[in-house]
């Protein structure tokens, strides 16, 4: 299997976001086995008997010629669902220890997911938010939708604080059809609060995927000297010792990650921790492998 793991720093040098998405997704698809088990592949899946009222365009006329019975051809990927990507652009997304901000990584991830949905011919939409909804691209399969989506992603600017309440309430007003909602955020909130706000999406039969984007320095900060840390969202300053960061902080962080994962799974959501130091396509592959296991 051909695998290309793309360094996020290398992707960052690509100016065009659609090129980034194609680079990530095409390389990743070409390395997969042609297996019907994978949900995003537009492969033939089954025949179904025609019932009056079905769309005649999907009738397999070759089978009808041979058998004089009308069957409809169904494809694996033809789920006809909506895919909405919620991209967090709050101030904390500015952080980045490896020369790349979390927001850039999130943009690549969002673009890749949207591109995948486009290949799947799903209606894809985008919500860019911080404490307000900053941009909203309504889900659609119209021509040029991918361009609108990628433009929306690339124009996303760093905002202020994270507030999941408003964007999710906003999204609830527009979600008419069931589909998939991918939330890309660093979720610097209490886990119960996060799940409490995201859970309503689940009630309408939507599939919710939480991409939890974190920098390795956030998970395991390494300090040599006591330093003054400044909260990127609130501007609060606090002096931190290396000893605290090495022990107590890590314990709290691990507990936080476990808590949010367990709560997400308990609420029937997919949770996937994305380490921004890892290659994007590798992260995406891993996620899809996990997702396949569920299908």
């Amino acid at each position: 299997m051909l695998q290309r793991f793309l360094d996020p720093a290398v992707l960052g040098q690509l100016k065009s976001l659609d090129l980034v998405a194609k680079t990530v997704v095409d390389g990743f698809i070409s390395g997969l086995h042609r297996s019907p088990d994978f949900g995003f592949s537009p492969e033939f899946a089954e025949y179904r008997a025609y019932y009056p009222g079905d769309d005649l365009r999907h009738v397999d006329w070759n089978v009808f010629a041979r058998t004089e019975r009308m069957y409809l051809k169904r494809y694996r990927g033809e789920t006809n669902c909506q895919v909405n990507v919620l991209l967090d652009t709050s101030g904390s997304m500015k952080f980045g220890s490896k020369g790349m901000q979390k927001l850039d990584y999130a943009k690549f991830l969002a673009a890749s997911v949207l591109y995948l949905a486009h290949l799947q011919r799903d209606a894809a939409g985008l919500v860019v938010f911080d404490d307000e909804v900053r941009n909203f691209v309504q889900p659609s399969t119209r021509q040029g939708q991918l361009h609108r989506l990628l433009h929306g992603v690339s124009e996303a600017q760093l905002g202020k604080r994270t507030d999941l309440m408003r964007p999710f309430a906003h999204l609830m007003d527009f979600l008419r059809r069931r589909g998939m909602v991918a939330v890309i955020s660093d979720f610097w909130e209490a886990p119960e609060k996060v799940i409490e706000m995201v859970a309503p999406l689940r009630y309408r039969g939507n599939e919710v995927v939480l991409f939890h984007l974190l920098d390795p320095e956030e998970i395991r900060p390494k300090l040599k000297h006591p330093v003054m840390l400044e909260d990127l969202e609130t501007g609060e300053m606090m002096e931190v010792t290396p000893d605290y960061a090495a022990h107590e902080y890590r314990d709290k962080m691990n507990a936080h990650l476990q808590d949010i994962e367990s709560r997400a799974k308990g609420a029937g959501m997919d949770y996937f921790l994305v380490d921004t130091s890892r290659p994007l396509d590798a992260a995406l592959r891993e996620y899809l492998a996990l997702r396949t296991g569920r299908l």
Partner: protein, 693 residues
Amino acid sequence: MGFLTPWFLAGVVGVGLPIWLHLLKRHKSDPRPFPSLMFFERREQSSVVHRRLDHILLFILRTLMLVLLALLFANPFINRTTPKAAGKKMVVVAVDDSFSMRAAASGTSGESRLDKAKREALDIISGIPATTAAEVVALGGTVQAMTQQTTDPAELRGAVAAIKPSDSRASFGELARFTRTLAESSKMPIDVHLVSDLQKSAMPPGFTDLRLTGDTTLILHPVGGEIPNWTVENVKAPIHVYDPKRVRIQATIAGFGTPAATRTVSLVLNGKVVQSKPVDVPAAADHQPGRAQVEFNELAASYGPNRCEVRIDSADALPGDDGFPFSVERADPKKILFIDNGRHPYAEKYYRTALDSSTDAAFVLDPQRPETAATANLAGYSLIVLDDLGPLPPGLEENLQRYVNPGKSLLVVLGPASVAMPKVPVEGDPIQPGASYAARETERFLTVSDIDSGHPMMKGLERLEGVSFYQAVRVAASKDAHVIAKLNDQTPLLLERPIGQGKVMVFTSTFDNVSNDLPVHGAYWVPFVLQSATYLGGGGAEQPVNVAVDSYVELRTGESKNTAAEVLDQDGKRALSLEEATTAKTYQLTREGFFDVKTASGQRSLIAAHADRRESDLTVIPQDALDLWKGTGSGGAGGDGAGGTADQKTTPWSLSPLLLLLLLLVALAESVVANGYLRAPEERQEGARKEAA
């Protein structure tokens, strides 16, 4: 221990700087951004750890540097006690022998103040213990030591007897300076006995010049009081007399502390009274003398130097200042040759008028045509003026050059006739084509813009303001020519060039009122003509002949070393030894009277020296000023900060040099330590590896 400037100790607060650098500055490091402080807690411990001093040695050195610097500026001192010369002291007997000491002492019959002072000095000497060294000094314009420091009373008495009345002006500032120097060198307490009339005019301008050292005790012995005194304060007379009928001698008669009175003023010429006039002198008031002026307008002096004097009948206690000697020299008027071809008829008229307007008629004008002058003997003229002749007749330029080269002067006036000439006659600077005209389309006239106001010819002429020049000949001044005045278009108006031993002055506009209106500005024209005639025809600067006692006369310049100078004093005796006659550059006139001086260059002059008339004011120094003066020595509470017991002397000893050395060492150490810290980490590791190896 103390500090001379303790306010500088406030600089110690600068210690805060290294504390800030080493402690607080590091504490306030730039904040590091972090996405969220959700999982962090405030801990006081971090700050405590943070405030640990970095680079403790460097911190100590820097703090020490600042403290030392503040101490250095505060100028610390410690009092060192040094033993005095056990019980020893020195006595200085200063006898005032200035001009005023010739006055009669009050309460005596005809005895002068100096005689009384000498008697007083002898009494002082007799009271000096046999083991105490003493010195007698005479106090005039300078302090003259009459003896070495001695314990021999006979020698001291002889020195007192040798003091003669002088014509100098006393200066108590000089005495104070002498005692300070003596105290510094002898390291002994000094008793200064000043026997003087304590004249107020002997005080120096600044009281600080009178200060005495802490070991000096001033004991005053006044020998005279305030008495009224008449004097001839000043005489203004010309140095040269050319016409005995046109002489102006002004004398100022002053009365110090005198009532209003009529005095008879006499003019004495070579020992004979030639004129006498009564003068009413007002009364002195408010410490200001009464003054009156007398003028004599005739002096039948004989040719050569004459000894003159203005004298009054005062009948006061100081007859020495009743006469004011001065010297005049009778001479023929100097002849000025004015060569003119009649082109500018007004030029000669204006020039002659200006010369005739002088009070002393020092010059006579002799006009001639150029053709005559070409063959004339010019040696008898002190100055020749060429008035815009144009092309010179044959032989005139050669004749003029022969005249100028030995040291005479020529004044060349240029005008329209000279424009076509290639160069200035005799002087030789090229004349540029075309005269400088003030054209109507530009400026209506030119004015003088630059002037050498320090030149003797330009004295009091300012910038010839208001004088308009309509035409001037453009002369290209050569390098050795000195441009004295320029017009505002930069055309030289007056320039001087040395030719041989003599000099040629060029005036580039005419002397009539056609090319300029200078001749009709009498306030400028007359001084210009007279000063130029004096400067060019007078043979250079002359030595002043009427001077105050203690002035110096110049005997030779650096160029005349091998010829002898000669000075005959007022008694007709040679004042110079043979060696002095050949080497001395100056001679100080220490006595009043007439001195016949022949300089090394052969110039003879009769110099009259008069006593400084401030000596005529016999007002005594007020008692409070005298007390203040005595107070600057050990007689007062102030002193120079010296204290201690009778046998010991406490002197402040500055610690600044030691502190400066210490500061230097600390600064060096700081540099070395800081350099070690500031090296790159790799460099430090390399050094550590080397040390380990």
